[in-house]
């Protein structure tokens, strides 16, 4: 059975975002997910930052301080090789979860 929960989903969203966009800061991640999901998903900052730091501790993502286009200092995150592998796993898990949930919903 696929291991999945809400935290795992947030991780998946963040990892996927970083995989698509390359380098991004926390605010950018929130914005990206909101925009791409047509305002359906809104990531809470209260969950995002602890998750980012946890993933950094696990070595899935790296970070560095850099300037934004408006010349403001911000902390940018990017995917590591470990993170890329983790993303593949998370995607598979999620597919299975969706398949499973859908099967249950369709059951008449």
């Amino acid at each position: 059975m696929a291991k999945n929960d809400l935290q795992g989903t947030l991780d998946l969203l963040v990892l996927k975002t970083l995989a698509q966009m390359g380098r991004l800061h926390g605010y950018g991640i929130v914005q990206h997910i909101q925009r791409v999901s047509d305002e359906l998903l809104r990531v809470e900052e209260g969950s995002l930052y602890p998750a980012l730091h946890r993933m950094e501790q696990s070595g899935w993502i790296g970070s560095e301080w850099a300037l934004t286009e408006t010349g403001r200092k911000a902390k940018y995150y990017r995917l590591t090789a470990t993170g890329r592998r983790r993303l593949d796993e998370a995607e598979r898990d999620f597919e299975e979860l969706v398949k499973g949930v859908r099967a249950v919903l369709r059951y008449a």
Binding site: E45, G46, A74, K75
Partner: protein, 883 residues
């Protein structure tokens, strides 16, 4: 992230904190910029960003929490917080640390002794396969079990041992090296001793079985490391030189290693000499005497042989020997024990130490119950603060961690103090040379430290879990609403009551135990000894060393002893003096078979009794304070030329002739028809716990026994007498080592177990009593302080003093009653446990029960006095104005 980075991060908490703050700040700034680009005013943009963001401090905390690197740092913060809490209530912290130090210290000290005596093996190769031969019948003391010829038979005929050695641990003499003479005690052992034990010399070499070529052929001596250091100044050149032992030359072949102290744990030999040369030190040849029980036999089992198989094999040999030598070998079945703890006394010592361990653990349990109660009370006081923290978003896990950290910190402090003092105590115990010349080698090794750590952590968990559980189950809403009034928390109160009740029960049990020990001690001190050690001195003087001027041989020795006695009697202040072959309770006594007149076949099964036989000079009974019940004492006129006579004791007279008068009756002892001339009172001869034993005293002039100890009774002070005695005797026997000791001192070893038990149990009882007082006091004082307002209202409404008192301290007193009853009941059931510690332990002794009840009542009164007074002095008007 590597461990190193985590550790360095530890010191960079502020930096990490600032970095997170900056990151979050940037987030808000970016959000504001975006909103302004969309056309919002700056103020509105900032407001909506902040609103969306929530509490920045909480988020920062949460993000920090995700930084695993900071977990260690979190622990450090908990410790700092706990230290601050302790500083806030130093009295509580001090009480807790002292309580724990006492509990843990007592346990570590007890464990240290257990570790040294029971857990650490003898310093020989494979100690598990080493066994000592004992007779089937259990006997206190009596290390010597076999004659040397019987040992040789066992050694030759057995099929179950890979080797057997014989030891006589009672060898002693004067050791001369150059001009220095030292009194030494050692072991006479067979040549294979060191090889059988598998020990290596520290210096030089040992002697071996191959060195033996018949009696007196191996004049070798091996010194103990201790003797080598004290008497030979650790001179490495001593190996190969010649020393004199009882005037016979012995070559020092080697020095034992510092770890090896023979096969007994408590008595360390100064030297080892080959048993073949024993005649040179003892003056008696026991190598050919089947009748003299002279050796301890120790053997190493062959691999794969069980002790019971070996015992069977040996018992069969014993039965064979009885058939072959019915005069001397009684054919008793044999039994095997591990050597080291004084023969069968090992069972007693083991029982004693394990029982004391149980009691020490009970003290620690009581200490933990005490602290758990205190902690629970404090946590209840802080329930509002804790609830507030939960409400503000602190996780319960964190609160519990905080409370456990406080408990662990106190436990570590208490444990360190306890371990430190226990280590000091053990070191002191190590240096202590008990009166009986024994050794207690207690090393504070890694195992002891580990035990201390285990005790500390276990107690921290025990008393830390109680408040932690409370905090876990606390509902913040409830706690904040009800404030510090906590009547609804009946369950919590019940838990605290349970803790105090258990603690009081344990305390009562320990107080009962110490009272039982004190009673046992008292009984022992009051037991009729049959002699009066108080006011008597024992003088040891080896007259056989003196070059005789007058007639040679036994007669000469007799003349000299008589002269010495007369010299002693003439010292002013001496009221009586006499000699005896061996004073009572110095061990090594064996029955000598006696026969009825007319017996022709002197085999053991024809003997009627096997009394102890003492050889005494005229006047010994008076000097020893033994009453003569009828007849006369022996006299100097009873000589080898006159008919053999003897004084017997009551038990002997009763067993031989019932109610008939014993004086004038005859019996055969040592092959001589002997007439009873007097009857003396019964006494204790081998140990305090023996049943009445038959005894025969034969006169010195009619026995060739050469050993004689002078018993001198005087009214003068001990040290003064010692000087006078030495002066008086040096005229007769110049240059002979004289040892003068007071009789009560030499008996100290016999009372040592009882004394040790009394001290151990007394200390435990005292600790438990202190814990009970602080426990009851803590609960009563806390209860009164919580209910001051209520009490004030009740006083204002006209409550009587007794009612106020009842509600203030009623509960602790009720608990005291219930706990004490439980403890007393436990004491009665634990009499088996106490039986290991104290001879004839009787917890049902009315004096003990009464004493325990009185003690607990006193403790209860002392502990509730102050809280009760506080409750009675409640001033309602002042109290009502306060809140």
């Amino acid at each position: 992230m590597g461990l190193w980075q985590r550790l360095t991060n530890l010191r960079r908490r502020e930096r990490v904190d600032a970095e997170i703050a900056a990151e979050l700040e940037a987030h808000i700034a970016l959000a504001v910029e975006d909103a302004m680009r969309a056309g919002m005013s700056e103020a509105d943009a900032r407001r909506s960003a902040r609103l969306r963001f929530g509490n920045p401090v909480a988020l920062r905390e949460k993000t920090m929490g995700a930084d695993a690197a900071l977990v260690l740092d979190g622990v450090w913060r908990d410790v700092k917080f706990a230290l601050r809490q302790m500083k806030k209530s130093p009295g509580f912290a001090l009480t807790a640390v002292i309580t724990l130090a006492l509990g843990i210290g007592a346990n570590v000290a007890v464990f240290g002794v257990v570790n040294a005596v029971l857990l650490s093996p003898l310093a020989v190769r494979d100690p598990q396969s080493l066994y000592q031969l004992r007779h089937k019948a259990w006997a206190k003391g009596r290390l010597l079990t076999h004659s040397y010829p019987a040992f040789e038979d066992f050694q030759r005929r057995n099929t179950t041992f890979s080797g057997m050695t014989a030891i006589d641990a009672y060898s002693n003499g004067a050791l001369r090296w150059g001009n220095a003479v030292t009194e030494v005690h050692g072991d006479e052992v067979t040549g294979n001793y060191f090889d059988l034990l598998g020990v290596e010399p520290g210096l030089g070499q040992f002697f071996h079985a191959a060195d033996e070529h018949g009696p007196n052929s191996v004049p070798y001596v091996v010194l103990s490391d201790e003797l080598w250091r004290s008497a030979f100044h650790a001179d490495r050149g001593v190996v190969g030189t010649t020393v004199e032992l009882n005037r016979h030359p012995f070559t020092v072949v080697g020095v034992a290693s510092p770890q090896f102290h023979g096969t007994e744990r408590f008595v360390w030999p100064d030297y080892w000499i080959p048993m073949l040369n024993e005649e040179q030190t003892t003056g008696v040849d026991y190598l050919h005497a089947r009748a003299s029980i002279a050796v301890t036999v120790i053997g190493r089992l062959k691999p794969g042989v069980t002790p019971s198989q070996a015992a069977e094999n040996l018992s069969a040999i014993s039965a064979e020997l009885n058939k072959e030598y019915p005069l001397t070998d009684d054919g008793q079945p044999l039994r095997l024990v591990h050597p080291g703890l004084w023969g069968d006394d090992g069972a007693v010592i083991r029982g004693f130490l394990w029982s004391v361990t149980v009691l020490a653990l009970l003290v620690l349990a009581a200490a933990c119950a005490n602290l758990a109660g205190l902690f629970a009370a404090r946590a209840a006081d802080r329930s509002r603060e804790l609830a507030l923290r939960v409400a503000l978003g602190s996780s319960r896990r964190r609160l519990v961690r905080q409370l456990l950290t406080e408990a662990a910190l106190l436990a570590v402090l208490g444990g360190a103090v306890g371990l430190g003092s226990a280590a000091l105590l053990l070191v002191a115990l190590n240096r202590w040379h008990p009166a009986f010349g024994g050794h207690v080698a207690v090393s504070v090794d890694a195992r002891v430290y580990l035990a201390g750590l285990a005790f500390t952590l276990a107690s921290a968990l025990l008393f830390g879990m109680v408040p932690a559980r409370q905090a876990w189950q606390n509902s913040p809403l409830h706690a904040m609403k009800s404030g510090s009034v906590e009547s609804p928390h009946l369950r919590r109160f019940a838990l605290r009551d349970l803790l105090l009740g258990a603690q009081i029960a344990i305390c009562t049990l320990l107080v009962t135990a110490s009272l039982v020990a004190v009673r046992g001690m008292e009984r022992m001190l009051r037991a009729p000894l049959g002699f009066e050690p108080q006011g008597a001195m024992l003088v040891e003087l080896d007259l056989s060393q003196v070059e005789l001027a007058g007639p040679q041989g036994a007669d000469g020795a007799l003349v000299q002893e008589k002269a010495a006695l007369e010299a002693v009697r003439s010292i002013p202040g001496v009221t009586a003096a006499g000699t005896v072959s061996r004073t009572p309770m110095t061990g090594g006594m064996h029955g000598v078979p006696v026969f009825r007149p007319g017996t022709v076949e002197f085999t053991l099964d024809h003997s009627v009794l096997a009394p102890y036989v003492f050889t005494m000079s005229p006047g010994y009974l008076e000097a020893a304070g033994t009453r003569l019940l009828s007849g006369r004492d022996v006299a100097w006129t009873d000589t080898a030329q006159t008919p053999a006579v003897a004084v017997v004791n009551e038990s002997f007279a009763k067993k031989m002739w019932g109610r008939q008068p014993a004086v004038g009756q005859r019996f055969i002892v040592s092959g001589r028809l002997t007439e009873v001339v007097g009857v003396a009172q019964d006494g204790k001869y081998h140990d305090m716990e023996e049943s009445p034993q038959p005894v025969v005293y034969v006169p010195l002039p009619q026995d060739e026994q050469s050993e004689a100890i002078f018993v001198v009774r005087s009214q003068r002070a001990g040290n003064e007498m010692a000087v006078a005695l030495e002066r008086a005797l040096s005229g007769i026997a110049p240059n002979v080592p004289i040892s003068v000791e007071s009789w009560p001192d030499t008996l100290a070893s016999e009372l040592f177990p009882a004394r040790a038990a009394t001290v151990a149990l007394g200390v435990m009882g005292l600790l438990a009593a202190m814990l009970a007082v602080t426990g009851i006091f803590g609960m009563a004082a806390y209860g009164v302080s919580k209910r001051m307002k209520e009490l004030g209202i009740r006083v204002a409404l006209g409550a009587r003093r007794m009612q106020v008192l009842g509600s203030a301290v009623g509960r602790p007193i009720m608990l005291l009653g219930v706990g004490s009853m439980l403890g007393l009941a436990c004491g009665v059931f634990a009499s088996r446990l106490l039986g290991h510690i104290v001879y004839q332990a009787n917890p049902r002794d009315p004096l003990v029960v009464g004493g325990a009840i009185a003690t607990m009542a006193l403790l209860g009164m002392a502990a509730t006095l102050i809280p009760a007074r506080r409750a009675l002095r409640v001033d309602p008007s002042q109290l009502m104005r306060e809140e």
